[in-house]
Symmetry: C2
Amino acid sequence: MESKNIFAAVLAGGVGTRMGNVDKPKQFLNIAAKPIIIHTIEKFVINSRFEAIIVLTPKQWVNNTKDLVKKYIPAAKNVFVIEGGASRSDTIMNAIEYIENNYRLDEETVIVTHDSVRPFVSHRIIEENIDATLEYGACDTVIPATDTIIRSDDNTFINDVPPRKVMYQGQTPQSFRAKKLKEHYNSLSEDEKEQLTDACKIFVLKGEKVALVDGEISNMKVTYPYDLKVAEALLGGNE
Amino acid sequence: MESKNIFAAVLAGGVGTRMGNVDKPKQFLNIAAKPIIIHTIEKFVINSRFEAIIVLTPKQWVNNTKDLVKKYIPAAKNVFVIEGGASRSDTIMNAIEYIENNYRLDEETVIVTHDSVRPFVSHRIIEENIDATLEYGACDTVIPATDTIIRSDDNTFINDVPPRKVMYQGQTPQSFRAKKLKEHYNSLSEDEKEQLTDACKIFVLKGEKVALVDGEISNMKVTYPYDLKVAEALLGGNE
């Protein structure tokens, strides 16, 4: 069998703090009678280019997530649920370690990292992520900024209003040559690691090219309570 | 009568190009059985601090908008519909000219400019806009960036991923001492005027302070077809 050497990492490591009074992390809330995280995993399961789909959750949710995968996607044999890390970067590093230990990690290995709370990612976006990473080594999924972007260093007065036409809002997937991502991450100082809120920045800090892939408005993050209403409306309209 | 010297400008000058196949600018589409622009105007009508509310629309929509105001807000005697300009800045300047010709324009005059397609602006946001402008001379309504912000100068590769904690997404209202706004705008070069996509930038370019007012996620711009579904859901949930 020819090995595909392309992996998905569905990132559900964080415990949401923006969803208000709910007893579950938001990725486990239902839309259209299925947990958000299942909708998301399905998008990768149906793409045959992936060798494995690694799902990373907080430790206390690993077993529950395994049960959900068995219940909703019983036919999927290449979905593996493991524990995420303390930060987003740590979680991605756990996924790469899993690849290294269970498959192989070489110059060709591609990892497509995706937020578990973006269930509406399209087949086209995932395909273009893989292709752009094969061509350039890394890519980010973005949409042109719909709002004016403002910079304020003191949270009180505006410092800058950068020209809107060069500003984008990052979505996911963010995809990388996995070995290079690991090496670059390990070469960062502790300070640099702590300031990271975005995996693509690891490549940017190292002067590497990160290509843009066109995202979609509908590839939204389900972060706030009313996003659930939108999500329901979107699924209601499409199914 | 003590004159209030505070004016609202509801900006409906643009003809939307992002709403897909609709025959009307998006501000005239209905949510909860009323045009979006009427929901928006009502938010200012119920605030007694405004001397007048100036609504600016494309020329061919002025009469229609007047009819809508008569139909839906017959009791409001301080709403005036006039023609907007070619650009957002021109539209704001038309509002200031209207104030100058029909009321007065002095150092104290405040103008609160607001997108006609943000019908969910709250009383708190409007109040804080007025107060911040009285104190600092100008303010902008913003929310912390929910997405990572990316800068790409060539629309192909990432140039920068600025630290998210200093990045904000601009909403409206944007509010100003109106006379100063006019003077600063008139002092810009034609090049500077053409590059303007944001009124606050006029103050920023001139080195003036622009204070931040906390926006709200729900103070969204109804720009895309699915926003209408969200808007319906939000109103459905609140009414």
